[in-house]
Amino acid sequence: MSAKLPPGLQLEKVDDRIMTLNVGPQHPGSGHMRIIIKVDGDYIVHTDPDPGYVHRGEEKMAEYRNYITNIPHLERPVIHDSCNILYPYCLGIEELLGLEVPERAKYLRVIAAELNRCVYIQYWLAIYGIFLGHSTMFMWPTGDRELLIDLLEKMTGARVTHAYFVPGGIRNDVPPNFEDVCLRQVNYFEKRIKEYADVFYDNPILISRTRDTGVLSREDAIKLGTTGSVLRASGVDFDIRKKEPYDVYDELDFQSPTLKEGDSYARSKIPWLDMLESCRIIREALKKMPKSGSVRVKLKPKPKGGDTEIYRRVESGRGALGMYIVSKGKPQPYRLKISVGSFRNLIAMPHLLTGEKLGNMPAVYWSLNYWPVEADR
């Protein structure tokens, strides 16, 4: 066929051995992204991740809004983990404006961030379960997640998209009986998630599907700059809450779980261990928190920053989350860069999937704790 093609288009040469598969963007097994996979028989020989289907230009939008009106739209990339994505932003603005956060607000922030981390992990765990064909593991986390969503609703007034953190503290104080309710719910939640071990993590079917698939060595994990559960599953003990403690994390006693195997099983287990630690953190924070006091510093309208730049990071549900704020003395940031864990872990996807069997793709892909909306921003 020698028909003339329009400029910019070309016919693709079709190999009779190598087949190209588009996984996504509509297929629910990949989230809102596409992975272009080339297979030779059953084996993946080439992987090309193609994100961007949910790109919203958060960084550009932030340049047009002032430091306070930026808050509601900046949490949109991860509505399930909205406290943690606002955390570095608020820490950065506080540093920029020289604000001192009240003690009670610091503890409430840590509690909200840890509750949010659990909510995110439960959501992720439900999807991970269903894509490995484990329906119970879809139902249980989705149901238990409601416990914490109720708590967050009591705290912030919204089930998701809380917009709870503001520069200088939190938006509002918690209701009077919050401490008791929180302690009771978290204790019950912890009891529930411990049961996941029996049904999911000790399940021989899960172990046979995820053990030794998609192994990321310690050296590669460091070289590729991965973060969060991917990094800690490969034996690198690096948790921003421990290494660069913010707010009151240095006063609380907790571990950052680390495993050595680096396979999909280890990567799927780290978030669950994280949740158990989160329960510990919340209980201790409730005990140590001042029982009363202000929770917010009063700000002038449209505060202006100096001529400086700030890079702050926190540990979110998907790893380190950094915000780079360039201020030029205006009420709006001159440039705001959001460096998210999902985007940093994207590079591990072609590295791990190439050479795997196609059937192992969901196990490897979802174990990367990848959230397409956050990666696209």
């Binding site: 994100p51 961007g52 790109h55 230009g57 960084e59 550009k60 939008m61 047009y64 540093e95 920029l96 020289g98 460091i222 070289k223 590729l224 700059g225 990094l231 690198v236 690096f238 290494k243 660069e244 100096g306 001529d307 400086t308 730049e309 700030i310 890079y311 990071r313 380190a320 950094g322 780079y324 360039v326 001159y334 440039r335 860069k337 460096s339 985007f343 940093r344 994207l346 590079i347 696209d376 921003r377």
Partner: protein
């Protein structure tokens, strides 16, 4: 095109760095007292300045250091930072547009997983490339050597910087679009002259 030590000193006097506690302010004062090779409290800054005298240290706080280098020197500086200072990965690569100065700044935030003494440190390596008013991404003078060979973790970050600001990274194995639609025909959207519609 680059900020020289003297100009930088001038800037520092009016810039108020609120990055960290009081130690920070003493650093800035020290640089003003002792040119041309200022001593910083952060040893990383001194090591880099000793090896690359033409580099400028914008600030050196207890856990954040910023080094400005020329675009010709970025490869050598990055190799030195990896091999001698033991930084092993890039956390983010940001582009910042300065249309008035006709420059685009590329900022690498480098961190270290392997060296526990550096886990709090973020080393900011910044350089500037010329900016053209009518950009043809990939085919104009807005080019920079990629750090892919030194820090493979920059791969996707540099791709994003290319499409968002039009900085072409020579040596990056993959310089295709990443997040923008395939039929995007406007200027790179994070440049300051790209306006959000309706505003």
């Amino acid at each position: 095109m680059h900020v020289t030590a003297r100009e930088n000193k001038k800037n520092e006097s009016k810039v108020v760095f609120k990055m960290s506690s009081d130690e920070n302010n003493t650093n800035v004062e020290k640089t003003e007292e002792a040119p041309p090779v200022p001593e910083f409290e952060n040893p990383l800054a001194n090591l880099i300045l000793k090896k690359f005298p033409s580099a400028t240290i914008a600030f050196a706080n207890t856990d954040r250091t910023r080094v400005n280098v020329s675009k010709e020197e970025i490869i050598q500086t990055a190799s030195f930072i990896r091999d001698e200072l033991h930084f092993d990965h890039a956390e983010s690569v940001s582009g910042v547009d300065y249309p008035d100065e006709k420059q685009i700044e590329v900022v690498y935030h480098l961190g270290s997983y392997d060296d526990p003494s550096l886990s709090k440190q973020i080393l900011t390596l910044a350089t500037r490339v010329p900016r053209e008013d009518n950009p043809h991404p990939g085919n104009d003078s807005t080019k920079l050597s990629s750090l892919y060979e030194i820090f493979p973790s920059v791969a996707f970050h540099e791709r994003e910087c290319f499409e968002m600001l039009g900085v072409y990274f020579e040596g990056n194995p993959d310089n295709r679009r990443l997040l923008l639609p395939e039929d995007w025909a406007d200027i790179p959207p994070l440049r300051k002259d790209f306006d959000i519609k309706g505003r």
